[in-house]
């Protein structure tokens, strides 16, 4: 049975940069991080289903304004939607529909806005902002550039983790071990450690974090 063209594997909730010229693309990375932080605080502090609907509406409006294709963000949102639906159903049963709407809508809104940040901001620009944020670390003997690089690499590791797990699951399936969680988890963990070591070597070879 034909299933249509193959899609590349899901790369995690934090989308890849999508080139564009929207206001969101042109806004400074620092401003976008600040707005995201403010949005997160507001969503957490302001209670009630009405504010949650407004938050999600704002997130959707930002998505439209960004010009980033819907499939880029909605694919990444699928697992979040599943989690939000599960939590929402439980909250509805335990505490009523108002709480259910608030929790699930807030979660989706936050993940969507975070996805938009990475989809409209180059990793290079994010590294600059993170290095600026890390300047006070100089006083305790840590390099701000190294701090920025560490956080940037952490974000980059999410899709690598997803890809490694997917490849390991395929390998387990090829050997008829798809029902054995150890056949996926152990090799995936070992491969991630190997990836971390290889990344360390690559950074050392490029002399990053040394100056």
């Amino acid at each position: 049975m034909s299933r249509g063209p193959l899609r590349s594997p899901w790369a995690g909730p934090l989308g890849l940069y999508h080139p564009g010229s929207s206001l969101l693309h042109r806004a400074p990375a620092g401003l976008k991080l600040t707005v995201l932080a403010g949005f997160a605080v507001a969503v957490t502090v302001v209670n009630g289903p009405r504010s949650a609907v407004v938050a999600l509406g704002v997130a959707v409006l930002l998505q439209v304004a960004s010009g980033v294709p819907w499939h880029r963000t909605t694919r990444g949102l699928v697992p979040t939607l599943a989690v939000a639906a599960s939590i929402g159903a439980y909250q509805w049963w335990a505490r009523g529909w108002e709480i259910a709407v608030e929790v699930s809508f807030d979660l989706v809104a936050l993940v969507l806005v975070s996805t938009l940040l990475t989809a409209t901001t180059r990793a290079d620009a994010l590294l600059d902002v993170l290095a600026r944020l890390g300047r006070p670390l100089r006083h305790v003997g840590l390099s701000p550039d190294l701090f920025g690089l560490t956080v940037g690499l952490f974000l980059r590791t999410v899709p690598v983790l997803v890809r490694t797990t997917s490849e390991t699951r395929d390998a387990a399936r090829a050997r008829g071990l798809e029902r054995n969680p150890r056949a996926v988890l152990v090799p995936a963990a070992v491969r991630m450690v190997a990836h971390a070591r290889a990344t360390g070597d690559a950074l050392a070879a490029r002399g990053l974090g040394e100056d």
Binding site: P159, D201, A205
Partner: protein
């Protein structure tokens, strides 16, 4: 040409005892004493012979357990950062080397060391990509590139900072015949001193000097034709 000097270098490592006793110390390489001054140097040897360890010594990725490695007088242990500014390193698997989501960002990451501002860094990254025929792939996800394109990108990322020396650890092992030719041609045209670890004996024959490594020792050092003949004999006669 830059001078790489290895003086009585030995690399050892702890290894688990198969009998369950205390870890043993095993010799991975050496003692080796060499001066590398030629423009094109190849290192050949069987898997596990110590040739990658030798390559990694040259930019301080591996430090000698005893002896010294110097690049233009700079000690790889004491002056590691300065050595790595002079010596670029290219890995076998580009996926081990590429850490950013898109090509332009990965090259820009290398350029951060030069303290350029963001627009200058972006322009330099795009120029480096254009040099390797990847200008139109600057914004695509790295994982969507072919293996050959990824190896070119790895090369662009290393050469963007214009090192004096390039050390390549089996740069064409994972590539098909076409991409192997592309990478070989690019490496041959570089101004830098190039040290290549390779299983490709045709590539070794194009070098000016070839080192043959076997069980942690440099067992032949000299003319490429004689070195490749020696290596072929070694692999045939010495086959277990």
């Amino acid at each position: 040409m830059p001078t790489i000097s290895l003086d009585d270098v030995q690399v050892t490592a702890y290894s688990p005892d198969p009998a369950g006793g205390a870890d043993r110390i095993v010799r991975l390489l050496g003692p080796v004493t060499l001066d590398l001054v030629e423009r094109r140097i190849a290192i050949v040897g069987a898997n596990g012979s110590g040739k990658s360890t030798l390559a990694r010594l040259l930019n301080g990725l591996v430090l000698p357990s005893s002896g010294t490695v110097r690049v233009d007088g700079l000690d790889t242990g004491r002056d590691g950062a300065a050595v790595r500014r002079r010596v670029g390193f290219m890995f076998t698997d580009p996926d081990a080397q590429l850490v950013m989501p898109t090509p332009v960002e990965d090259v820009a990451l290398s350029l951060r060391r030069l303290r350029l501002d963001a627009p200058a860094r972006d322009a330099a990254a795009r120029a480096a990509l254009a040099r390797f025929g990847l200008a139109d792939r600057a914004e695509v996800p790295v994982h969507s590139l072919s293996g050959g394109q990824r190896q070119l990108l790895a090369l662009a990322s290393v050469l963007a900072t214009d090192p004096d020396i390039l050390v390549c650890d089996e740069p064409t092992t994972l590539l098909d015949l076409r991409w192997r030719g592309v990478v070989d041609t690019l490496l041959a045209g570089l101004d830098q001193q190039v040290v290549v670890v390779t299983h490709d004996l045709d590539a070794a024959l194009r070098a000016e000097r070839v080192l043959v490594v076997e069980q942690g020792d440099v067992v032949f050092d000299g003319d490429p034709v004689a070195a490749v003949r020696f290596y072929r004999d070694l692999m045939t006669v010495g086959r277990p």
